[in-house]
């Protein structure tokens, strides 16, 4: 394998219903830095039906080139069709790095593509860097359930691949009018040769569960003792107009659905305010919430690791503190309304 043949950084542009996934925009920001450091192009690869118009967005967020597969066969995401397009494109243009969002689609696609290439794939990366000289991708991720961080390298194969967590990288401020080179690609795939069919897509609007989009999150942990105790979290969240988050223990105890889980095996969140109540602060949890604007921890144990990540801490019994907090907040809010 001659590494000289492999040039450029690619970002798989995930889209749905004609909207680019925010993680893809974040990856363009991260990819831009890697490409600049290497002095190579940053390209987006977009696959779908009626998606060509998204190229401008991708250029505005930092890409130099766009490879676009816009064909009816790509109407729905299917591993088989998307994988074939990506494999063909990578084989033709030979990128040195390909990044995917660590979404269910991104992970599914990346795993299949990496097996066929074959090459190394690092999952759920939270930090990315590249060696300027060698082009070696330094992909770092929490390992062993998040207790440590590990940097993973792929020295002997190209391209190097990684899936990257949403919300851990920053998108660039879009430059209006910035353009690039669009390369339209086509692939000859017959529908009858594809072994999976999407029969139906069912949207479910789940109230208050998109914690990745919430500005205020009130999260509770095992310290609340029981399902009944955990209701305190719901009360505070309601008072503040925030969403409810939870640690893994709480989800496993069945006090709340997995969709509320913050952390390594749950959701990464970046609210303006994050309340961690009765959460000791295992690193798995920390990696999922550490980029929150303001972190407030309430815990009985002064030594709890959460206090090292928070901005403000209260050592005390949640059952004593939180009701006062709710009451005081309600008063403050009323006062505020009256003043207005």
């Amino acid at each position: 394998m001659d590494f000289q043949d492999y040039k450029g950084v690619w970002v798989f542009i995930e889209q749905k219903d004609g909207v680019v996934a925010s993680v893809s925009l974040e990856l363009l920001g991260a990819g831009r830095k890697l490409a600049d450091k290497r002095g190579v192009e940053l390209a987006g690869i977009l696959i779908g039906e009626n998606v060509k118009h998204l190229t401008n967005t991708v250029f505005e967020f930092g890409a130099d080139t766009m490879y676009v597969y816009d064909q009816p066969i790509f109407k729905h995401y299917r591993t088989e069709t998307y994988m074939k397009a990506l494999l063909e494109c990578a084989d033709k243009h030979k990128p040195e790095i390909i990044l995917f969002g660590a979404t269910s689609t991104g992970k599914d696609l990346a795993s299949a593509v990496a097996t066929d290439l074959p090459t190394g794939l690092t999952a759920d990366t939270t930090e990315l860097d590249v060696e300027e000289e060698t082009g070696l991708l330094l992909a770092s991720r929490p390992a062993f359930g998040g207790n440590i961080m590990a940097t993973i390298l792929c020295k002997k194969y190209r391209p190097q691949m990684a899936t990257v967590r949403a919300k851990v990288m920053k998108a660039l401020t879009p430059q209006s009018g910035r353009t690039g080179k669009m390369v339209e690609e086509t692939i000859s795939l017959k529908e009858e040769d594809i072994r999976t069919k999407v029969l139906e897509i069912v949207k479910e609007t789940v109230k208050n569960v998109r914690i990745d989009e919430a500005d205020i999150i009130v999260a509770g942990g095992k310290g609340l003792g029981s399902f009944e105790g955990f209701q305190l979290i719901h009360q505070l969240a309601e008072t503040l107009g925030g969403a409810v988050g939870a640690s893994r223990d709480v989800v496993e105890a069945g006090w709340i659905d997995h969709a509320h889980q913050v952390g390594q095996t749950g959701v990464t969140v970046t609210p303006k305010i994050y309340f961690a109540i009765g959460i000791s602060g295992a690193i798995q949890h920390i990696v999922g919430m550490k980029n929150s604007g303001l972190i407030i921890a309430i815990n009985k144990d002064k030594e709890a690791p959460i206090f090292q990540t928070c901005h403000y801490g209260i050592v005390g019994d949640a059952f004593e503190i939180v009701p006062i907090l709710i009451e005081q907040f309600k008063m403050a809010l009323t006062r505020d309304k009256v003043n207005k």
């Binding site: 591993t79 269910s104 992970k107 599914d108 795993s111 990496a114 097996t115 066929d116 074959p118 190394g120 794939l121 999952a123 759920d124 929490p142 390992a143 062993f144 359930g145 998040g146 207790n147 440590i148 961080m149 590990a150 940097t151 993973i152 194969y157 072994r195 999976t196 069919k197 999407v198 897509i201 069912v202 949207k203 479910e204 789940v206 500005d215 205020i216 503040l240 107009g241 095996t265 303006k272 920390i286 990696v287 303001l294 972190i295 407030i296 921890a297 206090f307 090292q308 990540t309 928070c310 403000y312 801490g313 209260i314 005390g316 019994d317 503190i321 006062i324 907090l325 005081q328 403050a332």
Partner: protein, 275 residues
């Protein structure tokens, strides 16, 4: 008769695991080895499908000899046969090398009885990647269906399966030809306590144990550390932040201090109606 193969892994219970603060390494002795919780759901689903349609469930795992315990756990859940592939040459495998080794085992199992369906858990709690399942599907050239949270129908005569795949904002109904591979969400089922006869059967059960030499047409260069394109170059403890400001005093006073801080940062509440 359906033949379903469930792929499983024995993992350290990462919830209980302790770190050695001096060396920043994991103290594995502190962590009991358990059946990967996601895989318990995979085996449970395989057993439910067996009960619905008739058939047999085989489980396969790669790991050190003590991994037979995880296989026995699957027999308790209701699996019929268990296969452990164990060999020092498997050690150090990343997801690419793991999917290669497990695929070789499945190919051998399939020689005695063709495999209709493979079921994996969504991911392992120690590796956290979710890459092995799709990797196995690609190597066997069968469709991978990840994020499955309901099996609607298995039609062996016509050779297709219909499942629900979980999406970020709902789910999709997908039909796939069989054989295919599902990797399943935890929400697909609940794993009940095992009935006593299964526990007795599991206690007496001896899994099939294969080394590399028992597998067929294996390229040893693709196994273990040698066959793993990814390598861990550096391991470090996550940076410890400086820590926050504590509010002192009685609970009421602490809350008042917090409130005054929050109210000074009104911009934090800007988008919230009524605040």
């Amino acid at each position: 008769m359906l033949h379903i193969v469930a792929c499983i892994k024995q993992v350290p219970d990462t919830k209980i695991i302790k770190m050695n603060p001096k060396t920043n390494t994991m103290d594995r002795r502190t962590a009991p080895a358990i059946l990967n919780p996601y895989d318990a759901h995979a085996v449970e689903e395989a057993v439910r499908l067996k009960n619905r349609y008739g058939g047999i469930v085989s489980v396969v795992t790669m790991g050190p000899p003590p991994a037979v315990t995880a296989i026995k756990k699957c027999i308790e859940i209701g699996a019929d046969e268990g296969y452990l592939i164990t060999d020092r040459r498997f050690a150090g495998a990343d997801t690419l090398a793991t999917s290669y080794a497990v695929t070789k085992a499945i190919e051998k199992i399939a020689k005695t009885k063709p495999v209709d369906l493979i079921i994996c858990g969504k991911m392992s709690i120690d590796g956290d990647t979710g890459q092995v399942g799709p990797g196995i599907a690609r190597r066997l050239d069968i469709p991978p269906l990840t994020s499955v949270n309901k099996v609607v129908e298995i039609n062996q005569n016509e050779g297709y399966a219909i499942v629900h795949r979980k999406l970020e904002d709902g789910y999709e109904v997908v039909r796939s030809t069989m054989p295919c591979l599902f990797s399943v969400e935890k929400t697909i089922n609940e794993v009940p306590y095992s009935p006593l006869p299964n526990m007795i059967k599991a206690a007496r059960y001896n899994p099939h144990i294969w080394s590399v030499d028992d597998l067929e047409e294996v390229d040893v260069k693709q196994l273990g550390l040698k066959g793993s394109p990814t390598i861990v170059s550096k391991v470090w403890a996550p940076q410890k932040p400086a820590g926050g400001t504590f509010f002192e005093g009685n609970p009421t006073s602490q809350v008042e201090q917090l409130l005054s801080v929050l109210l000074q940062k009104k911009e934090l509440f800007e988008t919230k109606e009524g605040v």
